[in-house]
Amino acid sequence: MPEDRAVQALGLDEYKFGFHDPEEYFFKTPRKGIDPEIVAMISKHKNEPEWMLEFRLKALESFLEKPTPQWGGDLNELDFDEIYYYIRPMENQGRTWEDVPDDIRNTFDKLGIPQAEREILAGVGAQYESEVVYHSLKEEWEKAGVVFLDMDGGLREHEDIVREYFGTVIPPDDNKFAALNSAVWSGGSFVYVPPGVHVDIPLQAYFRINAENMGQFERTLIIADEGAYVHYIEGCTAPTYTTNSLHSAVVELIAKPNARIRYSTIQNWSHNTYNLVTKRAVAYENATVEWVDGNLGSKLTMKYPAVYLMGEGARGEILSVAYAGDGQHQDAGGKVVHVAPNTSSLITSKSISKGTGRATYRGLLKVHEGADNAKSRVECDALLLDDKARTDTYPYIEIEEKKVSTEHEATVSKVGEDQLFYLMSRGLSEEEAMAMVVNGFIEPIAKELPLEYAIELNRLIQLEMEGSVG
């Protein structure tokens, strides 16, 4: 059947970017596994204040106490004793593009991004090639009082702010993986935008070339003060430098009254990775928080970006797209909690599954008593690329208030023989036709991304398809 061939052709689950260069470590824990000694070693290596060490050790206790959750994806093969909890690669020492080691540059070459296109991939090409651009941006931000550092740097340079907010949105005992991250976190971003400041150019993890970008246990904290605006973009299709199979990040966002934060991620993990991330935001009066979340790769992803609407008139939006290829389970969705009146939320979730891949939408909509006139809409759409693929939907809804308006819509569609035939009859090859259907399906998410990332997302799909027609 041509349909099966087309599905083969798509081959998104073939992780093409899984190559890696030999790693040189700057620092690495002396053994696998986790205990108070390892945690203390990490903290000491980073020269952290005493309170952070205590925070970590308390979190470790919580991690060890909590059982592995059984309500979601299958975590039973995950062996916490087989993991190095802190690795700091040499590469992170690069300060400018020239300082970036050759093997990382080679990796970019292997990604096959042509020079011209690197320029288009805004920020990336321009910044790596021109230190000037980066520095002028940096100067501009600093002048406005914007802080954009890696989390370790943030702790060193702005200890007071970090101490005030760190772990307040996601407490260490929130869940087992948040506890683990709190105990061994390293890297991630720290962003503070002062009142009324609008950061026009998205802040990208790429800009922090002197910092640890995508650690295993990165920790990000973003605070937009009153009336501030910031768009933060994290992640890319570049290989991550971890050798371990667990990625467990924590991302906390705080949007003060009238502030707006948009957080966009596209991630493509190698197939042995458990990607277990806790992302949560609080939005105060008339503040807006938007999560745009793309999940590709990994063995199991469990990720449900959340927004707590704490102040009147606050708004939360979650857009997510997930692709589950053979052997993969994407358990993703979103959570919105309406605490204050006149709050609104929108969750749009799109999943694509193929072969033995399984895409799960797991969402929670909660409206507390007193959050009258809350409005919420949840839409989850699943696209199945063949007959074997699986999708499930678990939309939990808890409503304690009468005066609310909620809508929930779920659709499941399959790339059909007729659809492919139609497109092929216009001259598109089978793989082009399949890509067009898939790109169209994710278009509502792609159009929310900056152009260069939308290109990257589509390009990623195309790259995965190249040469895979049997």
Binding site: F421, Y422, S425, E432, M436, V437, N439
Partner: protein, 250 residues
């Protein structure tokens, strides 16, 4: 140009086309008329290569090539086109984006974005379509008439050598029918052939066929000039069944 010989086609084990032969020359317009269930739509889908149908016997060649050796996209590149009776929806893909991809796949040299834009404007004007139409998602939420216009717009953009039109006239009001006919007549010339598949004679008032064939039970039972269509309209398909029905059962 198109040569069908003794074609037999099955779907799920049922024979739908039972020995059909037809030859379409360059620049010719052929109308195939027939009642519901005579196998008209099966014929158009088989010619373009729909995977659900099984050809059990016979040959079809287009410009000397065996089309059964070719995938649907290869047939399109060779110059075949099918205007669908029920075109599929492709959410998230705009008409403009789709047409750009399609036009560039059938052409040897890609058009520049500017050339593409001009071509699209020109063809949409012929089809009396609002330029905003190009930004809509392909067939999603289109009315019946919009779908048919969009099919003809695609034909004008792709400039095929042979167009098969599967009941393009059905469900159209008289204004839409005229616009659709205008699109087809626009293509008419020594290098364009068409097979109009229809239930009614109505569209043939606007697109004058060179040959008319009547299809019944998976076969062409009689052929003639455009007067045959008029006779058919007058006497109805019951007359065809009476005249030719017994022959098909033998």
């Amino acid at each position: 140009m198109l040569k069908i010989e003794n074609l037999h086609v099955e779907i799920d084990g049922n024979e739908i086309i039972k020995g059909l032969s037809l030859e379409v020359g360059e620049g010719e317009i052929h109308a195939i008329m027939g009642p519901n269930g005579s196998g008209k739509s099966t014929l158009s889908n088989v010619l373009m290569g729909h995977p659900r149908y099984e050809v059990t016997e016979g040959t079809v060649t287009f410009m000397g090539q065996d089309v059964f050796e070719l995938e649907p996209d290869e047939r399109a590149k060779l110059g075949m086109f099918l205007a669908f009776q029920y075109p599929s929806e492709v959410p998230g893909v705009s008409v403009a984006n789709f047409l750009r991809t399609a036009v560039n796949s059938v052409r040897e040299e890609e058009l520049s974005p500017m050339e593409m834009y001009r071509l699209l404007q020109e063809k949409m004007q012929i089809m009396q379509m609002d330029p905003k139409f190009a930004e809509r998602y392909l067939n999603e939420g289109f009315s019946g008439g919009e779908k048919k216009r969009n099919e003809i717009l695609q034909m004008l953009m792709l400039q095929p050598k042979l167009a098969i039109m599967d009941e393009t006239d059905s469900g159209l009001d008289i204004d839409a029918l005229q616009v659709v006919a205008r699109g087809v007549n626009e293509m008419r010339g020594p290098e364009f052939s068409a097979v109009l598949i229809t239930h009614y004679q109505r569209i043939l008032r606007y697109i004058e066929p060179d040959h008319v064939h009547v299809m019944l039970d998976g076969r062409i039972v009689t052929s003639g000039s455009k007067e045959l269509a008029e006779e058919l309209e007058e006497k109805g398909y019951d007359w065809v069944r009476q005249e030719f029905g017994s022959a098909t059962k033998s």
